[in-house]
Symmetry: C2
Subunit: 460 residues, 2 copies
Amino acid sequence: MKRTALLTLLSISTFTTAVFAQQDSMMLDKIYHESFYQGQAYDNLHYLTKQIGHRIAGSPAADKAVAWSKSLMEKLDFDKVYLQDVKLPYWDRGPKEKAYIVGSKEPLNILALGGSVATPSKGITAEVIEVQLLSDLKKFGDQVRGKIVFVNKPWDESIVETGVAYGLNSSQRSRGPAEAAKLGAVAYLFRSLSSSTTDDYPHTGGTGYVKGIDSIPAMAISATSAIKLSEALKTNPHTKVYLEQHSAWKGMVQTHNVIAEWKGAEFPDKIITIGGHIDSWDVGEGAHDNGTGTMGTLDAIRTLMALGYKPKHTIRLVFYMNEENGVHGASTYGQVAKNKREQIVAAIESDAGGFAPRGFDIKASAERVVWMQQHWKPLFEQKFWVSRFLQGSPGVDSGVWGQHFPNTVMFNFRPDPHRYFDLHHTAKDVFEAVDKRELQSGVAAIASLLYLVDQQIEQL
Amino acid sequence: MKRTALLTLLSISTFTTAVFAQQDSMMLDKIYHESFYQGQAYDNLHYLTKQIGHRIAGSPAADKAVAWSKSLMEKLDFDKVYLQDVKLPYWDRGPKEKAYIVGSKEPLNILALGGSVATPSKGITAEVIEVQLLSDLKKFGDQVRGKIVFVNKPWDESIVETGVAYGLNSSQRSRGPAEAAKLGAVAYLFRSLSSSTTDDYPHTGGTGYVKGIDSIPAMAISATSAIKLSEALKTNPHTKVYLEQHSAWKGMVQTHNVIAEWKGAEFPDKIITIGGHIDSWDVGEGAHDNGTGTMGTLDAIRTLMALGYKPKHTIRLVFYMNEENGVHGASTYGQVAKNKREQIVAAIESDAGGFAPRGFDIKASAERVVWMQQHWKPLFEQKFWVSRFLQGSPGVDSGVWGQHFPNTVMFNFRPDPHRYFDLHHTAKDVFEAVDKRELQSGVAAIASLLYLVDQQIEQL
């Protein structure tokens, strides 16, 4: 090819790229305008948190959230809205837990972990073995028998990405009760997975037991109560603690994922899944976890619909049931999609709170991520303050169903991480902790990404 | 040069760069650890906001803030701590403003603007001319005479960078009173520069008059009160409003900038200025504006000192007086530095709140900014979630004294912009609106930048 011809072609190509970038940029302006001026995520979140409230999978409130979510979707221009059956075991906390230091009657703030068994109805009174690490437990050997194990490992405050700090301590919650039971402990207490080191809110979350080993009651204790207990143990190593909780598995129940489809004009059989989990823990109001993720992704689609957008691919909104304690909704979703041999080309999940949007972690090849950094990031960075387009892990629900879809490009929405683990799984996770501008800015970022994925996923 | 030799040189150079980057990365880890675990910005901010409170330049509280700041600096290992005399006119709000719709006695929430003259002591009662834009005023011509001008331009909610939205409306505050007075208005009211469109907090701020034109009382009205007044005017265009406020200039007073110097080992005569303004408006507690900026920059230096760092350049911390209504502190600082022919190689300012850190706007050549994007941004982006290194404007104080120092590289700290203008210049700007992790994360970002500037500014 002659040099001139090559240059001409190159400049046509550069020109075309520039024109497309210009069109995309104009579309993003419209999306942000629509989201900030007409956004409904904040008002919908208000209804979800205040009228329905917390909604653990299997509870009547979760059913109410499902029915209401379906009615919300039916008001929009989806081609199809339906419920997908999900069977799961229902765990119920029962009456409020009680805990105190025997003698002083100094109360300790605790929450049973999801999946925990109850104490005897008259509670447990026992001495306490305190360790910093689960692995320190072994050296106490037979002394553990009959005692309450108390794992008091503080949060690593130096880590800006609080999700990483959470991961460092999460085995305390997931494996702790089984490890303690193995050594004959009568109950398991551990310092909450909390980035706040100065408040008295315990953080709940799921745990599990191991077959063949006794199940013992398992509870999280607030940071300040953990400090209080640790001080008492320093003064008197024979300090006893009273623990009482009444949680139980209530058997299998029928619940649902809520699904809505917006048919693609060009590739109707190629699906982009977007959504988050509709269940929450049974404390607080499930505002950041995950009211913002469900109301946000719904509003991202509403935003595109309001702008008269026509998708190329079929966009499927999924509100997963039961991310918090079993992930049965995502498992079912994956099984059904696999059985139908669906083509799911991309997935967007929002389950990290409704704080100011920072970007997306992307499960895709390094080459694809670099392409997005080159083509998409400039559309967001300076103007919309969204700049994180890094290779990373998908959300929990996408990760579970994605096991059947290894080639699906997955986006995990990342809002600012500083404050999330202050309120995660606590009574503090309420509507008032969500800022409207931050939430609608996130809706706009997600809607913009959805638009770009729909337009350009074939070019990746 | 032979190809092999060149390659060897290149790889030595790449290797050296990598080693330095590794050292920098380790230093940043230490800085973040120190800031999150030993940081004092949050506790100092608590004292400043709760024990001293708001502190308009010239007030006794501002003097108290100066004396206390000096004592804070004296506790650290600075080589020199001193006050720099600043003369300025003191404006005082006087007793709380009153405003209501005549007849209904419906109260309106207003704040006098800094620099405003008072109403007559018995207030002003007059009809109202409402416009959206200042420029619309002219078409009312002689009808404006004797009336209250009410500029009711809403905030542009679609702009993520709220500072830009603020800039779009700021002439309402700065030029509005003079424009209205020119047409014979008896008072000036305008919708507060607020990103919150749903609250009843007026936002104060500075204004000015024009020589030869009467000065008329000038006030900001809250968003919801503006809406209420606008509705009343729709129902009855002859609606009258009562306004009463007692603000006044109280003459010249002697105040101070607070300055501390940490002598450089290698280039003692080359100065890096860092700081923010210590004064605030006379409502709220001046927490985000600018308690976080002063306590944050002080703590950034403390962080480096605690790590045993020895600066190459002289690091000069400046708490400027009077950024809010006159910028006399920065003017004085610039004049003195100019007279002394000082070499100020770089400046860092923090005056945009204490929200989650996003990065820095940089006043430097495009080439220098690109160099920082290549060398510094990778140290922050993935791990510390700080990624904004863009060419931009300096802060207000640096901008003022920087007129004498056109070659100084200037950094303007940029925290997340979503919530700042909800509380800017209002009673809502209190300690409780600051999150400890967000603040200390910003301190670490600023300390890291200060370290990099001190180490590498000669390489730029």
